[in-house]
Symmetry: C2
Subunit: 285 residues, 2 copies
């Protein structure tokens, strides 16, 4: 066990302290509304942890829990009411929704300026064209971890495993912006191990527990593990813990990239409030 542990929890706590100080200087505390149209216990617990961190940062927050009887139009009406409410800065529609609901029109109904997830197509377009706007929380958290631990990125070989809209693709945009050479690998990649072994930094976001073993990582590489899946009741990442024997630095699971995702949602809310309420602050980049 030699790798430095990149504690997302530590970085998230530092960020929340910063955000609280920032919020205290604002004339009005930002307000974040979670919309939960699901009875999924994992999603409920995820909203609770976001709400807890929002409160710690001084961000007002509340959850609208919609029963299984909710119709698509009613759910969209709730989002539109929140869009129109000038005292709401951030709206987070927690997925998954009840099975009969279509998430796509619900997510695009959120006003881009209040989209603290950064997943609205308008915000994705802003991300890829280097315009200001909220950045998807998980990849934004990865950069924050790199910056906290002073991991250099310029000219580095970054290999991202997974091409999801939530992680892999926006992470590619962010690491390119930091002048890394970026490879996006995925389930159809021919020789994943060859890519991983030449990487200075690996982002593992495949959702396949333990798929990256120590033989696939170059000595001295930095490994950020986004994969999170329960295995026999224990949360496991995509990265085999034995990678710690080879890598220079590694995020743990749990306590790695997960807490940072939550903290970045709160950071996006504070940035959205500053941008909307016009106190001169711009949205987070």
């Amino acid at each position: 066990m030699s790798a430095r542990i990149l504690s997302g929890r530590t970085v998230a706590n530092a960020l929340v302290d910063e955000l609280r100080a920032e919020v205290e200087r604002l004339p009005v505390a930002p307000r974040l509304v979670f919309v939960r149209a699901s009875d999924d216990p994992a999603s409920a617990s995820y909203v609770r942890s976001k709400a807890r961190l929002a409160s710690k940062a001084g961000v007002r927050n509340e959850t609208r829990h919609l029963p299984e009887s909710v119709r698509q139009e009613e759910l969209i009406a709730v989002v539109e009411e929140l869009n129109a409410d000038d005292d709401v800065d951030g709206i987070l529609v927690q997925l998954p929704l009840h099975a009969h609901l279509d998430p796509e029109p619900v997510l695009t109904a959120v006003l881009p300026a209040k989209d603290v997830d950064g997943l609205h197509p308008v915000n994705v377009g802003r991300l890829w064209t280097d315009r200001p706007g909220p950045v998807p929380a998980t990849p934004a958290g990865l950069l924050r971890i790199c910056d906290h631990y002073e991991v250099p990125l310029e000219g580095k070989e970054v290999v991202i495993v997974g091409r999801s809209a939530l992680v892999g693709k926006p992470a590619a945009a962010l690491f390119l912006r930091r002048h890394a050479t970026v490879t996006v690998a995925h389930s159809r990649t021919r020789d994943l191990k060859a890519h991983l072994r030449r990487a200075d930094l690996i982002v593992a976001a495949a959702g396949r527990p333990g798929m990256i073993g120590p033989d696939a990582v170059a000595p001295g590489a930095v490994v950020l593990d986004v994969g999170q899946a329960p295995v026999d009741g224990v949360l496991r990442g995509d990265v085999d813990p034995a990678v710690a024997d080879v890598a220079a630095a590694l995020t743990p699971t749990p306590g790695g990239t997960g807490p940072m995702t939550v903290a970045m949602v709160v950071a996006n809310t504070v940035a959205a409030a500053r941008a909307r309420r016009g106190d001169g602050g711009g949205p987070a980049r």
Copy 2:
């Protein structure tokens, strides 16, 4: 000289024939308006070649040439007038603009549904989130060349040199969608030659004439050359012509990716007309 020549001109002509047949079946011919606020001769000639191909496809087209005295608000007013005109299907603001004009607000003023360049942030977001919408013309043309010559992409190693909003980044989105493993390299890339030598397909979009020589290309690779710069009055690509001795297939300069870009603008116009005028056709993907 052994590489197969991937003639963009041939593919563009075939596409224009298809588009003309498609336009003939429409109740109203699509209409494309070029906005040219520049006296730059290269941009004038570029608009002329797009107009010529549009006419060949049966697409009505006209050019609004605005003098150097035009003010930013006047230019935006022209765009807004075209947005509002129900008989206009496509708007193309040709860059560069007169030096005193800011292109950014002009390009975002174009209605996304009429943005035949596919560069509006809303359309970039649609591209990266796999929603329907116009795709930037140059990378769309690259895929069309691959499909015409039956170049397989799934699981292949694609290395893109250049990370511009016009070519490199949208090309990454498109090749990922086709299940290639995609690397985006650029001026800060540490060992470009190592990346190029492992590539099954290279997209050269750096704008550095002749920068990719035969020693940087694996035998059997496919090379798509987007770079176009005049050298001693002759248009040169990023790829040294001697690469033809090594590569399996190569786009020439001129007559390669350039004509395809022009043709894809016309294709985006026809798709925009079909989507807007509601005859059941969707936008091009």
